[in-house]
Symmetry: C2
Subunit: 148 residues, 2 copies
């Protein structure tokens, strides 16, 4: 399967990106309206990829998830190339009876087997992965142990 | 510098992504309206990143660029994780008097020094880079020789 995209320069460092009939505005400025920077959408690609895997695997494991969110936080290097030297991923689940080992398994399968975006990221980027399980009475945060 | 993003599950595999007050819809389906897949925006992140570098460097080299586009084409693996086993990048410049060595230099600086997205992509992904220089009378395509 193939994906094709087209980027066309507009002005300054503004570009219009197009995939099929869908468009997205890209810009480099930090305070921008209606546009994203390439490094911003890189984080969304990563977060979205693992989010979909995990949501799907939790469903297969018959876990009842009422709310599911991911917080992604990337810290850029000071020097060129200013890639993310570390990325924090926090998966947040809300629902009754969500099992911790089901969450661990879903995250592990995404990180190690399914997430196509994750599989392209090299070892220069350090990952810190945590997750929270919340229900009506309780919220607990855990550190996911990445295999090395 | 840090970037923070938030992804929130909507329904099925639809997620709403948010960075500051800007939002983007993510979905997994192949025929989707108004949303992008994570692998699609990964290609846009890469294309946008190198596009901005190259545009900026061409300007510093006083090259008069009237039109500048990038075509990005990613071929996914058949097996999980279905990352891009190859990515074709074609830079297209139109303008009078654009020097080939200025183009080569701009692409090389982006690929090897500046592009933060490129710097995070591992060696499992094969890159094929070409560029076209067009003017009123002529259009010529070149293969960019990636250093290995």
């Amino acid at each position: 399967m193939s994906v094709s995209a087209h980027l066309s320069w507009h002005q300054g460092l503004k570009f219009q990106a197009r995939i099929g009939d869908r468009t997205l505005q890209l810009d480099s400025a930090e305070k921008i309206i209606g546009a994203f920077t390439p490094m911003e959408i890189f984080l969304l690609a990563l977060g979205g990829c693992t989010a979909m895997d995990v949501r799907w695997i939790m469903d297969k494991q018959r876990q009842k998830v009422d709310r599911f969110e991911i917080e992604v936080h990337g810290k850029r290097r000071e020097d060129d190339p200013r890639y993310y030297e570390s990325i924090d991923l926090e998966y947040i689940f809300a629902g009754e009876g969500i099992r911790q080992n089901a969450v661990e398994r879903a995250i592990r399968l995404s990180q190690e087997k399914y997430c196509s975006v994750r599989a392209m990221i090299n070892d220069k980027v350090r990952f810190n992965i945590t997750y929270k399980i919340e229900n009506q009475n309780h919220s607990e945060k855990f550190v996911f142990a990445t295999r090395t």
